[in-house]
Symmetry: C2
DNA sequence: TCCATTTTCGTACCTTTGGTACAGTTTTTC
DNA sequence: GAAAAACTGTACCAAAGGTACGAAAATGGA
């Protein structure tokens, strides 16, 4: 009938939620299984029923994180594209919506798993490192696709679209670090709006 | 006679070098003391003679890291200012030299301790968190000071200088993550040159 | 050369953590 | 009501961070 979520699925979600929060605050190695199982209200055996070892936890945590981010971006894209047929305009809307979303967070942005894993890459196996790399490439492709569509309408031969797509990620990752370190949540949306401004200037006819 | 470096100082430097490299690759918690002492060729007691606990290691490592960075920036600044009296021009030179320096690194940038600590803040005490915050504020002040001098000569009322200073850090931190994750060392200098370009466009009279 | 300080080693011990192994039990679900 | 799913309990292991403290080199200056 309804979209039933099995009990196991719920427990797994609970573990992953707790793990993600802990990892973003103190790193993967310092996130102890004991801490997770007691917070999740299960036992060690229960944990190992769901994840065959800690590295499986890392992998599933990351995959889930990326799926959620992808959903968010797909949703923003759909909403932005619904509001304007002009590729430049709709991308500016998208960036504004993203900035608003980040500004509306109750606290400072908790952090990005890509950055966290990047600064602990030696802890992870090749599969996870590959996943991390792929996720960055996916984001780059997302922005690049939109920038290319803009460039078709507003050609600007001087601009390196790939570098400009990378810039979006740079703003996000760098902005999170700035926001987190200074504990000022406004910094991240402010920076994103600067990126938006930059995109507008580059493509807008003077 | 010469600037003698005591044996203890040498050992401490060796420990800090090893620790910094390990921390940037797998995080602080995963960097074991046993690993450091065996690599440094000392014993556990030897380690605890130099650092009263692991948290002292974290602190000294960070302080030393920031001193080195400060030196690098002070040196770049001195060299850039020697080449031009015009504040805009000398800052553009500074950014170019920084980009060149990063491009000349033999490998991908090893990472920034500010970002590493930021993503593991819960591991550290207030003193270290404060140090981390202060270091970002110092960098912001460094760039802000230069931007203000530029703005005196090339006024642009539309621009938020503080946000533009933060942008420099954002480019660096975000660029490191991008470079490290994709294992492409060219990305970081490329991004820095984009920041340089941005600064030039903002202040250059059309 | 002697003496004090600095630097390092040896050893023993304690707790937490990740991980393994595996048998047993309760809950769901069909 | 039976099979599959979702756990629990117990016992064990090696490695890690840390503590404590006494002894021994090494070094540096008088």
């Amino acid at each position: 009938m309804e979209d039933r979520i099995s009990k196991g699925e719920l427990t797994r979600t609970r573990i992953l939620d707790l793990a993600e929060e802990a990892v973003l605050q103190k790193g993967f190695a310092a996130t102890s299984l004991d801490e997770l199982i007691s917070a999740a209200g299960i036992t060690k055996s229960g944990f190992f029923y769901h994840f065959k070892d800690k590295s499986e936890l890392a992998k599933h945590m990351f995959v889930r994180y990326m799926e959620r981010e992808d959903e968010i971006f797909a949703d923003l894209e759909a909403r932005a594209d619904a509001l304007s047929d002009d590729p430049l305009h709709s991308t500016l809307i998208l960036l504004k919506m993203l900035a608003d979303m980040l500004a509306d967070l109750p606290e400072t942005h908790p952090g990005c798993l890509v950055a966290s894993y990047c600064y602990q890459h030696q802890l992870f196996n090749d599969e996870i490192r590959r996943l991390n790399e792929d996720s960055v490439l996916t984001w780059r492709a997302f922005f690049l696709r939109r920038l290319e569509r803009i460039a078709e309408v507003y050609p600007n031969p001087e601009v390196n679209l790939r570098a400009m797509a990378d810039l979006a990620l740079t703003f996000i990752e760098g902005g999170i670090i700035l926001s987190k370190t200074l504990r000022q949540k406004e910094l991240l949306p402010e920076l994103l709006l600067m990126y938006r401004d930059y995109v507008r200037r580059v493509f807008s006819p003077v």
